[in-house]
Symmetry: C2
Subunit: 146 residues, 2 copies
DNA sequence: AAGTTTATGAAAATGATTATCATTTTAAGA
DNA sequence: TCTTAAAATGATAATCATTTTCATAAACTT
Protein backbone atom coordinates (compact mmCIF):
# COMPACT_ATOMS: atom_id res chain seq x y z
CA UNK A 1 0.00 0.00 0.00
CA UNK A 2 2.57 2.53 1.12
CA UNK A 3 5.10 0.66 -0.95
CA UNK A 4 2.88 0.93 -4.00
CA UNK A 5 2.50 4.66 -3.47
CA UNK A 6 6.25 4.99 -3.30
CA UNK A 7 6.61 3.09 -6.55
CA UNK A 8 4.11 5.34 -8.24
CA UNK A 9 5.83 8.43 -6.93
CA UNK A 10 9.11 7.21 -8.32
CA UNK A 11 7.46 6.57 -11.66
CA UNK A 12 6.01 10.07 -11.69
CA UNK A 13 9.36 11.57 -10.83
CA UNK A 14 11.25 9.52 -13.39
CA UNK A 15 8.94 10.76 -16.11
CA UNK A 16 9.11 14.34 -14.95
CA UNK A 17 5.44 14.30 -14.20
CA UNK A 18 3.82 15.84 -11.16
CA UNK A 19 1.99 14.55 -8.18
CA UNK A 20 -1.31 16.32 -7.66
CA UNK A 21 -4.13 16.07 -5.13
CA UNK A 22 -6.33 14.45 -7.76
CA UNK A 23 -3.78 11.79 -8.60
CA UNK A 24 -3.15 11.15 -4.96
CA UNK A 25 -6.86 10.76 -4.23
CA UNK A 26 -7.41 8.43 -7.17
CA UNK A 27 -4.40 6.34 -6.23
CA UNK A 28 -5.58 6.07 -2.62
CA UNK A 29 -9.01 4.90 -3.61
CA UNK A 30 -7.70 2.50 -6.21
CA UNK A 31 -5.29 0.90 -3.76
CA UNK A 32 -7.97 0.57 -1.13
CA UNK A 33 -10.32 -1.40 -3.40
CA UNK A 34 -9.61 -4.87 -4.57
CA UNK A 35 -11.09 -6.73 -7.49
CA UNK A 36 -11.58 -5.66 -11.06
CA UNK A 37 -13.05 -2.25 -11.47
CA UNK A 38 -13.95 -0.11 -14.41
CA UNK A 39 -13.03 3.52 -14.96
CA UNK A 40 -16.63 4.41 -14.36
CA UNK A 41 -16.76 2.60 -11.05
CA UNK A 42 -13.56 4.22 -9.90
CA UNK A 43 -14.82 7.61 -11.06
CA UNK A 44 -17.97 7.17 -8.99
CA UNK A 45 -15.96 6.44 -5.89
CA UNK A 46 -13.68 9.38 -6.51
CA UNK A 47 -16.61 11.71 -7.04
CA UNK A 48 -17.99 10.81 -3.64
CA UNK A 49 -14.78 12.06 -2.05
CA UNK A 50 -14.32 15.03 -4.35
CA UNK A 51 -17.05 15.86 -6.85
CA UNK A 52 -14.82 18.34 -8.64
CA UNK A 53 -12.57 15.67 -10.10
CA UNK A 54 -13.27 15.09 -13.78
CA UNK A 55 -13.62 11.68 -15.30
CA UNK A 56 -10.95 12.41 -17.88
CA UNK A 57 -8.52 12.63 -15.00
CA UNK A 58 -9.57 9.19 -13.82
CA UNK A 59 -9.05 7.75 -17.28
CA UNK A 60 -5.67 9.45 -17.53
CA UNK A 61 -4.68 8.20 -14.13
CA UNK A 62 -5.60 4.60 -14.99
CA UNK A 63 -3.26 4.86 -17.94
CA UNK A 64 -0.49 6.02 -15.67
CA UNK A 65 -1.23 3.33 -13.13
CA UNK A 66 -0.91 0.73 -15.85
CA UNK A 67 2.30 2.20 -17.21
CA UNK A 68 3.84 2.32 -13.78
CA UNK A 69 3.08 -1.29 -13.00
CA UNK A 70 0.66 -0.50 -10.21
CA UNK A 71 -2.37 -1.64 -12.16
CA UNK A 72 -3.13 -4.03 -14.96
CA UNK A 73 -5.74 -3.69 -17.65
CA UNK A 74 -8.11 -6.64 -17.83
CA UNK A 75 -10.41 -7.21 -20.78
CA UNK A 76 -13.21 -9.71 -20.11
CA UNK A 77 -14.52 -9.10 -23.59
CA UNK A 78 -17.68 -7.25 -22.67
CA UNK A 79 -16.65 -3.89 -24.08
CA UNK A 80 -15.41 -2.35 -20.85
CA UNK A 81 -11.86 -2.39 -19.59
CA UNK A 82 -11.30 -3.25 -15.98
CA UNK A 83 -8.28 -2.61 -13.81
CA UNK A 84 -6.82 -4.71 -11.06
CA UNK A 85 -3.84 -4.42 -8.74
CA UNK A 86 -0.62 -5.58 -10.32
CA UNK A 87 2.01 -4.33 -7.92
CA UNK A 88 2.91 -6.98 -5.39
CA UNK A 89 0.65 -9.54 -6.99
CA UNK A 90 1.45 -12.71 -8.87
CA UNK A 91 0.42 -13.17 -12.47
CA UNK A 92 -2.92 -14.92 -12.87
CA UNK A 93 -5.59 -15.60 -15.42
CA UNK A 94 -9.35 -15.55 -15.07
CA UNK A 95 -12.09 -18.11 -14.90
CA UNK A 96 -15.49 -16.54 -15.46
CA UNK A 97 -18.97 -17.95 -14.91
CA UNK A 98 -21.08 -16.95 -17.88
CA UNK A 99 -24.23 -17.24 -15.84
CA UNK A 100 -23.50 -15.28 -12.66
CA UNK A 101 -20.37 -13.43 -13.83
CA UNK A 102 -18.32 -14.73 -10.92
CA UNK A 103 -14.63 -14.15 -11.55
CA UNK A 104 -12.07 -16.55 -10.16
CA UNK A 105 -8.37 -15.85 -10.36
CA UNK A 106 -6.37 -18.86 -11.38
CA UNK A 107 -2.87 -19.89 -12.30
CA UNK A 108 -1.50 -23.10 -13.68
CA UNK A 109 2.26 -23.13 -13.82
CA UNK A 110 2.14 -26.02 -16.24
CA UNK A 111 0.02 -24.03 -18.68
CA UNK A 112 2.32 -21.06 -18.38
CA UNK A 113 5.25 -23.27 -19.20
CA UNK A 114 3.50 -24.81 -22.18
CA UNK A 115 2.57 -21.41 -23.53
CA UNK A 116 6.24 -20.49 -23.60
CA UNK A 117 7.09 -23.73 -25.33
CA UNK A 118 4.33 -23.31 -27.87
CA UNK A 119 5.46 -19.82 -28.76
CA UNK A 120 9.08 -20.86 -29.01
CA UNK A 121 8.11 -23.69 -31.30
CA UNK A 122 6.78 -21.06 -33.71
CA UNK A 123 9.85 -18.88 -33.46
CA UNK A 124 8.27 -16.35 -31.12
CA UNK A 125 9.60 -14.90 -27.91
CA UNK A 126 6.61 -14.51 -25.63
CA UNK A 127 6.02 -11.12 -24.10
CA UNK A 128 2.61 -11.74 -22.61
CA UNK A 129 -0.66 -13.54 -22.93
CA UNK A 130 -4.34 -13.23 -22.22
CA UNK A 131 -6.25 -16.30 -21.18
CA UNK A 132 -9.88 -16.30 -20.16
CA UNK A 133 -11.70 -19.49 -19.32
CA UNK A 134 -15.49 -19.36 -19.52
CA UNK A 135 -17.79 -21.85 -17.89
CA UNK A 136 -20.56 -22.50 -15.41
CA UNK A 137 -19.76 -22.52 -11.74
CA UNK A 138 -20.96 -25.13 -9.29
CA UNK A 139 -23.57 -22.88 -7.67
CA UNK A 140 -25.12 -22.03 -11.02
CA UNK A 141 -25.24 -25.67 -11.99
CA UNK A 142 -27.19 -26.46 -8.83
CA UNK A 143 -29.64 -23.57 -9.15
CA UNK A 144 -30.79 -24.70 -12.55
CA UNK A 145 -34.43 -23.81 -11.93
CA UNK A 146 -33.68 -20.24 -10.92
CA UNK B 1 -18.08 -24.33 -49.05
CA UNK B 2 -21.32 -25.71 -50.43
CA UNK B 3 -21.70 -27.63 -47.22
CA UNK B 4 -21.33 -24.45 -45.22
CA UNK B 5 -23.97 -22.74 -47.31
CA UNK B 6 -26.32 -25.59 -46.66
CA UNK B 7 -25.71 -25.34 -42.95
CA UNK B 8 -26.45 -21.65 -43.00
CA UNK B 9 -29.61 -22.21 -45.02
CA UNK B 10 -30.80 -24.71 -42.47
CA UNK B 11 -30.07 -22.26 -39.68
CA UNK B 12 -32.04 -19.56 -41.47
CA UNK B 13 -34.95 -21.89 -42.01
CA UNK B 14 -34.93 -23.19 -38.45
CA UNK B 15 -35.19 -19.63 -37.14
CA UNK B 16 -37.92 -18.66 -39.58
CA UNK B 17 -35.66 -16.11 -41.15
CA UNK B 18 -35.32 -15.47 -44.85
CA UNK B 19 -32.62 -15.94 -47.37
CA UNK B 20 -32.05 -12.80 -49.39
CA UNK B 21 -29.72 -11.80 -52.21
CA UNK B 22 -27.75 -9.64 -49.79
CA UNK B 23 -27.25 -12.47 -47.33
CA UNK B 24 -26.31 -14.80 -50.08
CA UNK B 25 -23.75 -12.39 -51.49
CA UNK B 26 -22.20 -11.70 -48.10
CA UNK B 27 -22.04 -15.39 -47.31
CA UNK B 28 -20.37 -16.14 -50.64
CA UNK B 29 -17.71 -13.53 -50.16
CA UNK B 30 -17.09 -14.50 -46.56
CA UNK B 31 -16.64 -18.15 -47.44
CA UNK B 32 -14.31 -17.32 -50.28
CA UNK B 33 -11.90 -15.37 -48.07
CA UNK B 34 -9.76 -16.93 -45.42
CA UNK B 35 -8.08 -15.33 -42.48
CA UNK B 36 -9.43 -12.93 -39.90
CA UNK B 37 -11.41 -10.10 -41.32
CA UNK B 38 -13.25 -7.17 -39.85
CA UNK B 39 -16.79 -6.09 -40.63
CA UNK B 40 -15.34 -3.10 -42.42
CA UNK B 41 -13.10 -5.24 -44.62
CA UNK B 42 -15.94 -7.54 -45.50
CA UNK B 43 -18.18 -4.57 -46.20
CA UNK B 44 -15.62 -3.16 -48.62
CA UNK B 45 -15.50 -6.41 -50.55
CA UNK B 46 -19.27 -6.65 -50.64
CA UNK B 47 -19.58 -3.08 -51.88
CA UNK B 48 -17.35 -3.88 -54.82
CA UNK B 49 -19.83 -6.54 -55.94
CA UNK B 50 -22.93 -4.59 -55.03
CA UNK B 51 -22.59 -1.00 -53.87
CA UNK B 52 -26.20 -0.88 -52.79
CA UNK B 53 -25.67 -3.19 -49.82
CA UNK B 54 -25.61 -1.31 -46.54
CA UNK B 55 -23.03 -1.89 -43.87
CA UNK B 56 -25.68 -2.55 -41.24
CA UNK B 57 -26.61 -5.60 -43.26
CA UNK B 58 -23.03 -6.80 -43.13
CA UNK B 59 -22.91 -6.36 -39.37
CA UNK B 60 -26.24 -8.13 -39.02
CA UNK B 61 -25.05 -10.94 -41.23
CA UNK B 62 -21.86 -11.43 -39.22
CA UNK B 63 -24.01 -11.88 -36.16
CA UNK B 64 -26.01 -14.55 -37.95
CA UNK B 65 -22.89 -16.24 -39.25
CA UNK B 66 -21.58 -16.45 -35.69
CA UNK B 67 -24.85 -17.76 -34.32
CA UNK B 68 -25.08 -20.39 -36.98
CA UNK B 69 -21.61 -21.72 -36.37
CA UNK B 70 -20.27 -20.68 -39.75
CA UNK B 71 -18.07 -17.96 -38.33
CA UNK B 72 -16.34 -17.20 -35.08
CA UNK B 73 -15.73 -13.84 -33.51
CA UNK B 74 -12.08 -13.18 -32.70
CA UNK B 75 -10.98 -10.35 -30.46
CA UNK B 76 -7.28 -9.54 -30.68
CA UNK B 77 -7.79 -6.73 -28.21
CA UNK B 78 -7.27 -3.83 -30.57
CA UNK B 79 -10.82 -2.55 -30.48
CA UNK B 80 -12.05 -4.24 -33.64
CA UNK B 81 -13.75 -7.59 -33.85
CA UNK B 82 -12.58 -9.98 -36.52
CA UNK B 83 -14.33 -13.01 -37.93
CA UNK B 84 -12.88 -16.27 -39.12
CA UNK B 85 -14.27 -19.48 -40.54
CA UNK B 86 -15.51 -21.85 -37.88
CA UNK B 87 -17.47 -24.40 -39.84
CA UNK B 88 -15.29 -27.36 -40.76
CA UNK B 89 -12.32 -26.00 -38.87
CA UNK B 90 -10.58 -27.22 -35.77
CA UNK B 91 -10.42 -25.12 -32.66
CA UNK B 92 -7.27 -23.06 -32.37
CA UNK B 93 -5.81 -20.14 -30.49
CA UNK B 94 -3.69 -17.25 -31.70
CA UNK B 95 -0.10 -16.22 -31.44
CA UNK B 96 0.38 -12.59 -32.42
CA UNK B 97 3.54 -10.61 -33.13
CA UNK B 98 3.19 -7.25 -31.45
CA UNK B 99 5.65 -5.71 -33.86
CA UNK B 100 4.43 -6.81 -37.31
CA UNK B 101 0.96 -8.05 -36.33
CA UNK B 102 1.56 -11.45 -37.84
CA UNK B 103 -1.09 -13.91 -36.65
CA UNK B 104 -0.25 -17.56 -36.26
CA UNK B 105 -2.92 -20.14 -35.50
CA UNK B 106 -1.83 -22.59 -32.87
CA UNK B 107 -3.14 -25.47 -30.79
CA UNK B 108 -1.63 -27.34 -27.92
CA UNK B 109 -3.68 -30.31 -26.89
CA UNK B 110 -1.87 -30.42 -23.60
CA UNK B 111 -2.88 -26.86 -22.79
CA UNK B 112 -6.45 -27.58 -23.75
CA UNK B 113 -6.46 -30.52 -21.41
CA UNK B 114 -4.98 -28.53 -18.55
CA UNK B 115 -7.53 -25.77 -19.02
CA UNK B 116 -10.28 -28.30 -18.47
CA UNK B 117 -8.54 -29.63 -15.40
CA UNK B 118 -7.97 -26.16 -14.00
CA UNK B 119 -11.62 -25.23 -14.41
CA UNK B 120 -12.81 -28.47 -12.91
CA UNK B 121 -10.55 -27.92 -9.95
CA UNK B 122 -12.49 -24.72 -9.24
CA UNK B 123 -15.86 -26.38 -9.66
CA UNK B 124 -16.48 -25.03 -13.14
CA UNK B 125 -17.61 -26.83 -16.23
CA UNK B 126 -15.75 -25.21 -19.11
CA UNK B 127 -17.79 -23.95 -22.02
CA UNK B 128 -15.08 -22.10 -23.87
CA UNK B 129 -11.92 -20.09 -23.61
CA UNK B 130 -10.00 -17.31 -25.25
CA UNK B 131 -6.23 -17.51 -25.31
CA UNK B 132 -4.01 -15.02 -27.07
CA UNK B 133 -0.25 -15.27 -26.90
CA UNK B 134 1.67 -12.08 -27.66
CA UNK B 135 5.33 -11.96 -28.58
CA UNK B 136 7.95 -11.06 -31.14
CA UNK B 137 8.39 -13.24 -34.18
CA UNK B 138 11.72 -14.43 -35.51
CA UNK B 139 11.74 -12.04 -38.46
CA UNK B 140 11.10 -9.05 -36.27
CA UNK B 141 13.86 -10.07 -33.90
CA UNK B 142 16.30 -10.17 -36.79
CA UNK B 143 15.26 -6.86 -38.33
CA UNK B 144 15.95 -4.97 -35.16
CA UNK B 145 17.37 -1.94 -36.96
CA UNK B 146 14.35 -1.47 -39.20
C1' DA C 1 -53.47 -10.88 -55.07
C1' DA C 2 -53.72 -9.35 -50.17
C1' DG C 3 -51.91 -9.61 -45.84
C1' DT C 4 -48.31 -10.55 -42.63
C1' DT C 5 -43.69 -10.92 -41.42
C1' DT C 6 -38.99 -10.10 -42.00
C1' DA C 7 -35.14 -7.55 -44.26
C1' DT C 8 -32.93 -3.54 -45.87
C1' DG C 9 -30.41 0.92 -46.09
C1' DA C 10 -29.77 5.46 -44.45
C1' DA C 11 -29.14 7.85 -40.80
C1' DA C 12 -29.08 8.65 -36.00
C1' DA C 13 -27.80 6.77 -31.55
C1' DT C 14 -24.77 4.52 -28.40
C1' DG C 15 -21.11 4.10 -25.23
C1' DA C 16 -16.48 3.70 -23.89
C1' DT C 17 -12.49 6.05 -24.50
C1' DT C 18 -9.54 9.90 -26.24
C1' DA C 19 -8.49 14.50 -27.77
C1' DT C 20 -8.87 19.49 -27.41
C1' DC C 21 -8.27 23.66 -25.22
C1' DA C 22 -8.72 27.39 -22.14
C1' DT C 23 -7.55 27.77 -17.43
C1' DT C 24 -5.23 26.44 -13.24
C1' DT C 25 -1.33 24.21 -10.66
C1' DT C 26 3.06 22.80 -9.98
C1' DA C 27 8.01 22.89 -9.38
C1' DA C 28 12.10 25.57 -10.02
C1' DG C 29 14.69 29.47 -10.37
C1' DA C 30 15.87 34.22 -9.87
C1' DT D 1 8.59 35.61 -2.60
C1' DC D 2 7.93 36.54 -7.62
C1' DT D 3 8.35 34.63 -12.34
C1' DT D 4 7.95 31.40 -15.60
C1' DA D 5 7.85 27.29 -18.26
C1' DA D 6 5.94 22.82 -18.11
C1' DA D 7 2.36 19.88 -16.87
C1' DA D 8 -2.43 18.91 -15.17
C1' DT D 9 -7.22 19.65 -14.97
C1' DG D 10 -12.16 19.65 -16.18
C1' DA D 11 -15.60 20.54 -19.48
C1' DT D 12 -16.73 19.40 -23.64
C1' DA D 13 -16.29 17.78 -28.21
C1' DA D 14 -14.59 14.15 -31.03
C1' DT D 15 -13.72 9.16 -32.20
C1' DC D 16 -14.97 5.00 -33.81
C1' DA D 17 -16.89 0.46 -33.91
C1' DT D 18 -21.17 -1.25 -33.41
C1' DT D 19 -26.29 -1.01 -32.70
C1' DT D 20 -30.89 1.04 -33.23
C1' DT D 21 -34.45 3.21 -35.45
C1' DC D 22 -37.63 3.69 -38.87
C1' DA D 23 -39.70 4.13 -43.21
C1' DT D 24 -39.70 1.38 -47.23
C1' DA D 25 -39.08 -2.82 -49.72
C1' DA D 26 -38.85 -7.64 -50.24
C1' DA D 27 -40.38 -12.42 -48.95
C1' DC D 28 -43.51 -15.94 -47.66
C1' DT D 29 -48.56 -17.46 -46.55
C1' DT D 30 -53.03 -18.17 -47.53
MN1 LIG E 1 -7.63 -10.63 -11.60
MN1 LIG F 1 -7.79 -17.98 -36.41
ZN1 LIG G 1 -22.04 -18.86 -11.66
ZN1 LIG H 1 6.75 -9.90 -36.30
Amino acid sequence: MEKAKAVFNEFIASKNLRMTPQRSLILDIFLRKKGHLTAEQLYDMVKRKDPSVGQATVYRMLKLLSESGIAREVDFGDGVLRYEHLYGREHHDHLICTRCNKEVEVVDEEIERLQERLAKRHGFVLTGHRMYLYGICKECRNNVGE
